[in-house]
Amino acid sequence: MIRDITLGQYYPTDSVLHRLDPRVKLCGTMVYVISLFLFQSFTGYIVATVFLVSMIALSHVPVKFMFRGLKAIIFILIFTGILNAFLTPGRELVSFWKITITIEGVRLAAFLVLRIIYLIIGSSIMTLTTTPSNLTDGLEKSLGWLKIFRIPVHEIAMMMSIALTFIPVLVEETDRIIKAQQARGADFESGNIIRRAKAMIPILVPLFVSAFRRANDLAVAMEARCYHGGDGRTKMRPLKYAARDYIAYLVLLGYLAAIIAVGIIF
């Protein structure tokens, strides 16, 4: 159950997407997310689907992993779907008691749910094909200009990268603590909601303690290696665009143009 979280879980394999510069992928994800809101028509969804499917194919990541991230938001999806189907006014499809489902409602619900799914999968592709350190490198570099507004870009990027690298560590730790408490007879499955909430205490307290301990250890380790923030720090692998990155930008531009065209025409 706890291992379902895909966000921040890099899938190690070799593909064109894995080799792309993280800045391209960041920009691509952003363009894709925005593009999902630029059209209303069926044709638009075809274009977005074709693009998403080809990205999934290019990524060499098993589709199973993409869909794992959806499990976490299944309730949001159901909720959005139902609410929209019931509450949108329009031509009646079926009606019973006081509830009416309209054709427009079903259409809107389907599109909205699809949009959320595409959003999650789209961003999953980025995190699955980019290592956390690469991702924050990309962020730091593409947002570097914010420094003139005294925004501590490096520090934020560093915090993000630490948070991302620690997600799997904490997930594993949680798993370990759950097992240890289960070995002491703890029961997390039965009882009413209050009992279940109480059953989380034996997991949460040790988890917090260990998170603080790890944070402290990490701080000491960074100090010991003379970490003093971003000024004057050099990179072992500085980011540099290659030919494939420019091609990727062109593809992205093509996609965006297609979506905008579809949005205007249909």
């Binding site: 097992k179 002491r184 260990s210």
Partner: protein, 282 residues
Amino acid sequence: MSIIVNHVDHIYNPGTVFEKKALCDVTFSVENGEYIGLVGRTGSGKSTLVMHLNGLMKPTSGGIFYDGADIASEGYDLRELRGKVGVVFQYPEHQLFEEDVFADVCFGPRNLGLDKSEVEIRAYEALKAVGIRDEQLYVSPFDISGGEKRRVAIAGVLAMKPEVLVLDEPCAGLDPAGRDEILAIADYLHDNLGITVIIVSHSMDDLAEHVHRILVMNDGQLVMDGSAREVFGHRDELESIGLAVPEVTAILSDLKKAGLPVRDDLITVEEARDEILRVFGK
């Protein structure tokens, strides 16, 4: 009471790039009152095997039988099993969470559904068995020393009155004094309380003087199973899989290679001393 592990395989994440075979055709049995050491290098599958013993993991194939019943079968009461097969994981002090030491130790027996007085009696007995003093009972478990934390965590499992106690790397990260304390507790539980004890370790020196039988794991397979003496007689095989014989055994076997007529199947310091003195005719 007996545990039978019958041709157990376990594969992590089958069908993905993360697929890893952790256990491969492991077969052995444990009888009542045994004192066993389970050794193997890091990643040899020891911890995975341990989690199978109390049903925290299910074998991919094969079966585990406790008192003749298959613990993976439908409807088997796993909570009752976890009361009978107590497992103390690596760094067990990381599982402490209650406000005071006594309350934390009560957690296990309370989960067994016992009444309050029985829970408290068991907790108190368990804390005494691991040598926690009365004045420490109501101290926060985060305010005591590392060695004490570990003993409290062991008491937390012991309070469930298990028939089998599995200690996974109980000495990891402790100083020699702390290590001796923990091993002395294990001895006490086995000798005086009649508990079947299984100690998991990668250090032969920890085990040699304590356990009666040693199981050796390598790459998910059980490669040796015998008395401490039998197992330590296979120095070359052990070294080829990244393990070592106890230091005294190594010294004796080096002496023998150098031409002294000493026995090389001795495992404790006392035995080795007597043997060397004997050879020199004192």
